[in-house]
């Protein structure tokens, strides 16, 4: 069997730029969609990055199916034989804990005819039986039965033991957050996450030894816009005072006293960790001091003084390309981003919480979640409408490049090193900080640099059909 590209949806991407098939998709050249001349004060992303289906196809193939992506949290597969199913790029994946407690990331596709072996979202099963011809796999993915193998006149060398569910190329966890890569050529997960890890620690360390859990009630929704709108918006403090003005008005009208409003002298900033990951932070949150004190008391002993301070800051973390955690101190949300097309994105969102937290704290967390984060709340629907209108507006190709990546570029007057980075022990991260109206956009840059780096990779090859004989 000769090697060829696995993608049926991105054949055009195989053509070199300008190969001249008269096919618009054939002209996709990722290099020209990002203008990164930061030393000259230029950073721009071409509108086609948001509107082109050819770009979308390349993103799926070379980003979502080629690098580490978040696939779940270990609390979702806490017990032996627990499983969840998800999608990595276009590919169905089964995350399962086997009978002995070991976690596995497996392609959710029967080795016989390719049918999805486990069609459900989550559950607990010792065995996964294909509904087509009854092939059976155990919760570690091993093939346990080829139905009627003995009378099936298989070729002599046929070996059912080689036909277990195929593991993803890389599967690993950091502090309970599970990641998979369909491509083996990625750095170890720790190295991939780099300086973003202290911020995942800040989430994980809020839990006791019981760990974190997802509050029951996952929500899945779509918006008719490009997924990168979501990447940007969660790192964007600039939009808050405009898009969420109705929410801010409500907070104001609810306030019993001026103390309930955010302090006007707050600080805001960001870190960029490389490989697309970034964090936007602000030194205040909407949590009341009483609730904050009760919450902090439960984890103060596990955190350094600096970490404790940072746990009281609002923090929006993006782990490129598909996971965001927003800890606004009063509640915590984990989002998973899945592009369905250039102009349609599926979001899955959960409220995350320390297991076993007191009922009053849990109730406050859920109320805030409903109020602000949930798609039935006051913030997310506003954001989604904004994304959709951005998508409509991005079609104005004749208007040229946007000016949406320039705030935060001018570093004159900033110190060489960040006191914030120092106290957090960050080594190689880019940073910026300023007043709460800073509205930094430079924290979007790493996502586009990683995006462009991955898009420029050569297509992946498909190996020959080994293992069938």
């Amino acid at each position: 069997m000769t090697t060829s590209n696995p993608s049926s949806t991105s054949t055009a991407s195989e053509e070199p730029a300008g190969a001249g098939r008269g096919d618009r998709a054939a002209a996709v050249d990722p290099a020209r969609l990002l203008d990164d001349r930061i030393a000259e004060g230029v950073f721009a992303v071409h509108r086609e990055a948001f509107t082109s289906e050819a770009v979308h196809a390349l993103e799926v193939e070379r980003i979502f199916e080629r690098t580490w992506v978040y696939v779940g949290h270990e609390s979702q597969v806490a017990k032996p034989n627990d499983y969840i199913t998800t999608t990595v790029g276009r590919q169905p994946v089964l995350v399962t804990r086997d009978a002995k407690g070991q976690l596995h990331g497996l392609l959710n596709s029967c080795r016989h005819r390719g049918m999805v072996v486990c069609p459900l979202r989550a559950g607990n099963q010792k065995f996964h039986t294909c509904r087509y011809h009854g092939w059976v796999y155990d919760s570690a993915g091993a093939n346990r039965q080829v139905s009627a193998q003995d009378v099936g006149r298989y070729p002599q060398a046929f070996n059912a033991q080689q036909l277990g569910l195929v593991p993803v190329a890389r599967f690993d966890a950091y502090r309970g957050f599970l990641f998979a890569s369909l491509h083996a050529d990625v750095p170890p997960l720790d190295e991939h996450l780099g300086d973003s890890r202290p911020f995942l620690d800040l989430i994980a360390d809020q839990a006791t030894e019981q760990g974190l859990e997802f509050v029951p009630g996952a929500v899945t929704y779509t918006f008719d816009a490009n997924w990168k709108m979501q990447i940007e918006n969660a790192l964007d403090m600039y939009h808050f005072a405009y898009v969420h003005v109705s929410y801010l008005d409500l907070v104001r009208s609810r306030a019993q006293s001026p103390a309930a409003l955010p302090p006007p002298d707050g600080e805001q900033g960001s870190f960029s960790f490389g490989r697309g990951h970034a964090l936007m932070w602000r030194s205040h949150s909407r949590v009341t001091s009483e609730l904050l004190a009760r919450r902090s008391a439960t984890f103060a002993g596990r955190m350094s003084e600096a970490a404790l301070k940072w746990s009281s800051f609002g923090r929006n973390l993006t782990i490129f390309p598909n996971m965001q955690i927003v800890d606004n101190v009063s509640s915590m949300m984990l989002r998973v981003i899945r592009p369905l097309s250039a102009r349609k994105t599926e979001m899955q969102t959960w409220c995350i919480a320390p297991k076993g937290e007191p009922a009053a704290e849990r109730a406050a967390r859920i109320r805030e979640y409903e109020d602000f984060f949930n798609p039935s709340g006051l913030a997310t629907p506003d954001d989604n409408v904004i994304y959709e209108q951005c998508q409509t507006g991005m079609a104005a190709a004749a208007a040229g490049w946007t000016a949406g990546y320039l705030r935060g570029i001018d570093r004159r007057g900033l110190p060489d090193t960040s006191p914030h980075a120092q106290e957090l022990g960050l080594s190689g991260s880019q940073w910026i900080a300023g007043p709460r109206t800073l509205g930094d956009e430079s924290c979007f840059h790493d996502a586009y640099r990683e995006w462009a780096r991955l898009l420029r990779q050569a297509p992946a090859a498909v190996p020959a059909a080994e293992g069938l004989r």
Partner: protein
């Protein structure tokens, strides 16, 4: 040779969960129903599954591989794809121990 073999304490068998026990070197699935203990050959007659991994549904055990079912009291196959009965072994309780016969009951044809 017929004989009785003590396999476990009666209190160790939960009503909802089959238990894998050894009678000689034969693997047997032990069940507790409201009217007593029952034992079936652990291996499904259709596939390579252990019935002790199965789920108890009323008076029947459902095979974990293909959802065929057997009557826990008689071993008779009662849901496709299972058509052939599994061997059923008499059980009794003495001094709090479950004893299983090493000789199966005479087989009856499946309905």
């Amino acid at each position: 040779m017929n004989g009785w073999e003590a396999v476990c304490a009666a209190e160790d068998v939960e009503p909802a969960i089959p238990r894998l026990v050894l009678v000689g070197d034969r693997e047997v699935a032990l069940f507790r129903l409201p009217d007593g203990f029952y034992a079936l050959d652990d291996k499904c007659t259709h596939g390579a599954a252990s019935l002790s991994d199965g789920q108890i549904v009323g008076d029947q055990v459902e095979c974990p591989f293909h959802a065929g079912r057997f009557d826990i009291r008689t071993g008779a196959a009662c849901a496709l794809p299972c058509t052939e009965a599994v061997a059923s072994f008499p059980c009794k309780v003495e001094s709090g121990q479950v004893l299983v016969s090493s000789e199966p009951r005479p087989s009856k044809p499946s309905p």
